[in-house]
Symmetry: C2
Subunit: 492 residues, 2 copies
């Protein structure tokens, strides 16, 4: 059921019923909208077909961008070689490795400087924590139950979890949570909790939800229904209502996006809850997981933003730690209600701990990074940074509009969506995340006006070259961002 | 089906058939052997029951060790506090945090020194890599397909993967793999690949398999049959044969342990394959995942050890990176056949990468740590360390025997199993992993003779106190390690 092109409500229901019996070994096209020619779907039998080629979306000029499956790319890899017998004497090996690392470091500086497309705050200084790199810190198992392995950082982890539980208004003795390896682990956990609470529940998620949500459905063998979205990227609650009414016999597990991946759209949590109630789904028949990947941490600091709060009937919230906070490695925070976790957990005596996390061994450095930043910046520090990001995002959108480039910025977001640049080299240089005809810049705390100016100026310059003599033209992106934001020749 | 007390073959078959329809929301006791009184199982309705208390195994003196579920432990946590307005001026906050970190570092040194129980090599020096901690390195998506995010370490990752593929004899153009967050992720991935290859396959795993294997079965809604083990901890292939024959209508997905968690037992891969063939399971009807958590990396360097090799009909191998190699944070390596991965993967254009990993964002530092150590030590370096570990493990076993303490050491292992010490404080000090009446020491490269002597001397001393006047006595562990290894009063 994952990735189906269009799930008619009846079909969806059948599928939901059929899910646990029927298994579809071949995944099909993930983002159906991206394939311009529907016939492609038929001919390739889906993107992931064995040994097949992935048919990407058309690039701006109509050429297809191909992602080749079934081939290992070894062009750039750094081979591991066996040391020579005399390496320790000559020091050749140390010198070689130091050289590799120095070159690598230089490339990281360069790439960090030019980065615009992913929601990672690259501005951090954890120098004070360098002293801890010598330790194998592992919070294996549950954060709240000490295991016998002593080299852990649970005291930092629980401090961070408390901070987030307070942010989302859940009492200390009523929450459970842990620091995950990434946003995906948070979604996998939240949806698993939902499934354990409602074993025959159907998963509802807007089609602009993160791909990990649909991966979860597939992994967990859950019925899954994709809900349409508005132009903004928010879930379309009219469509949600229709689909709920057609599946009233099964509990509902809903993924609510607090900032979608591509457009930074925030689903209207209150309207989702209202829709559930109006269609007869009582609180004992639905579970809501909030995927707050990036914006779950920014929204509490935005004035007038609707609140993500456990005072509302939600089951779990996840957020990434390496995004707005910034962290050398991916990580995330998952908070859920303690009552749910006993459904999921089992005891594993080997650890002298219960097994309620997805992963067993867990990175003990990540909690210290988060603890360090939260302590240094505090609520007020984050508030300032959020305001700066939103201000800078507006600046970017305005500059693009002034240059006649179609762009959209959701009210509660710092993600600026615009036409996909015509040239892959430009995309790679600025490391833009793209989907179909659109690209985005996520304005994070490390992105200042100067960087945005450099980017915009270069884009304007390049567009003049790409589009001179009318050989090519800016794509129409009215479908993605709305007619009022599009500035193609037709909508200008 | 996960964690069932005893699966009779017929029942197992029924369960396997029933799995996809029936869901068991309440997990039951995981290690049935650990509950001394079978009535406990009935009264507590399984360990994980909502709001219930976990009944741990009896400690040596007959007191029960309890793990309390449903309560958040905040006694030790380090609260995150809001900075004062003048913190930047006074420097108070910086000073406070520096103090916390310095104390924490001191405790890590202490705990690292005393550690014996978990298979982590704590002896590493990654000082040369400290310069990279300033970067947010993320290998999101597939290792072999570059995403648009430029700050990655795929060149190191693929170098490491090549090294492991060569170790396990799979050609560069025939393998796929990635660096995981831990051993659990490797098992989750291997078993998921198996399930996608055989959607209606039944998972077979010995009851001494790592708990993540049974977690996978539960997550993936797979039929799962536990196979008995020999005293050594190896899978009992006679029992395996019986259970296969009773489930001939379904393909078999088998988890083979290359070193079990508790006893370090190595399942006989060749006998497992022979058993499959003799019971009529052709190569198109089984999938073998090898859980090589610790020993998958050690065994290739042990003379006379049976080989883990893709020249045999296996589907995947996983190994932990933070165990024998040593790494500041948990990580692992997963290698599988490229042909299987297309079954699993789907394209996700957002990353310009395919989605075949469990996690989306992936720690880019771990591959560099592994690359660094592999390059420095090489095959020969590892060989020396493995030999040292095995030698030291024999030394420990001999010393325990000489002191009249029952102990077992499997031929291909560096895990010494012995009676669970009578005192929880002693267990915590040496950070011993325990299960029921047994504990173990995993002899890793950072554990030398001196440390083992200190440990043994202290154990002997303490035993004299614990067992003086006959108030208590050493437990009989013949069931766990065999009569010939047990040295309780009856078997001495």
């Amino acid at each position: 059921m994952v990735g189906s092109v269009e799930v008619s409500p009846v079909e969806a229901n059948d599928r939901a019923k059929a899910t646990v019996d029927d298994v579809e070994p071949l995944p099909v096209e993930f983002y159906p909208l991206e394939t311009s020619d529907p016939a492609d779907l038929g001919t390739t039998n889906g993107v992931g077909s064995v040994g097949g080629k992935a048919e990407g979306p058309r690039a701006g000029d109509g050429r297809k961008r191909e992602i080749v499956l079934g081939r290992n790319v070894h062009t750039m890899s750094l081979e591991v070689t066996e040391p020579e017998a005399d390496d320790e004497v000559t020091g050749d090996r140390e010198a070689y490795m130091a050289g590799v690392l120095a070159r690598y470091r230089k490339s990281l500086i360069e790439r960090t400087r030019n980065h615009l497309g992913y929601p990672y705050n690259l501005d951090f200084d954890y120098g004070a924590l360098g002293q801890l790199q010598h330790f194998s810190i592992n919070n294996l198992g549950d954060p709240f139950i000490e295991s016998n392995y002593g080299v852990h950082s649970r005291q930092f982890e629980v401090g961070v979890l408390d901070w987030f539980a307070r942010l989302w208004e859940l009492e200390k003795n009523e929450y459970w949570g842990y620091i995950t390896n990434c946003g995906t682990e948070g979604n996998l956990h939240g949806i698993l909790v939902g499934r354990e609470v409602f074993p025959d529940g159907i998963l509802y998620a807007s089609r602009e939800s993160h791909y990990s949500v649909f991966k979860a459905a597939r992994m967990y063998r859950m019925g899954c229904i994709k809900v349409n979205t508005l132009t903004s990227g928010e879930i379309d609650c009219a469509d949600f209502r229709t689909k709920l009414l057609q599946n009233k016999d099964k509990p509902a597990i809903i993924n609510v996006n607090i900032g979608t991946t591509v457009k930074g759209a925030v689903d209207d949590l209150d309207l989702v809850i209202k829709t559930l109630e109006e269609t007869g789904f009582g609180r004992d028949r639905f579970y809501i997981h909030c995927d707050g990947a990036l914006f779950g941490l920014m929204m509490p600091f935005v004035k007038r933003a609707p609140k993500v709060s456990f005072k509302k009937p939600i089951g779990s919230v996840s957020v990434s730690g390496h995004k707005f906070v910034g962290c050398p490695m991916p990580c995330g925070v998952q908070i859920t209600r303690l009552e749910h976790i006993n459904t999921l957990s089992r005891n594993v005596e080997y650890l002298a701990s219960r097994d309620a996390t997805i992963m067993g061994s867990r990175n003990g450095h990540a909690p210290i990074f988060l603890w360090y930043t939260l302590n240094r910046k505090g609520y007020k520090g984050f508030q300032k940074e959020v305001q700066k990001c939103l201000r800078n995002a507006h600046y970017l959108k305005d500059r693009l509009h002034a240059a006649g480039i179609g762009a959209m910025l959701n009210e509660l977001s710092s993600t600026v969506v615009f036409e996909r640049p015509h040239d892959e080299e430009f995309i790679r240089k600025w490391q833009l995340a793209c989907q179909g005809n659109i690209a985005h810049v996520v304005v994070m705390p490390n992105i200042d006006i100067e960087k945005l100016d450099n980017f915009t100026n270069e884009l304007i310059e390049k567009r003049e070259i790409w589009f001179q003599d009318g050989k090519a033209q800016a794509p129409c992106i009215a479908e993605e961002i709305g007619e009022e934001s599009c500035m193609c020749t037709r909508h200008k």
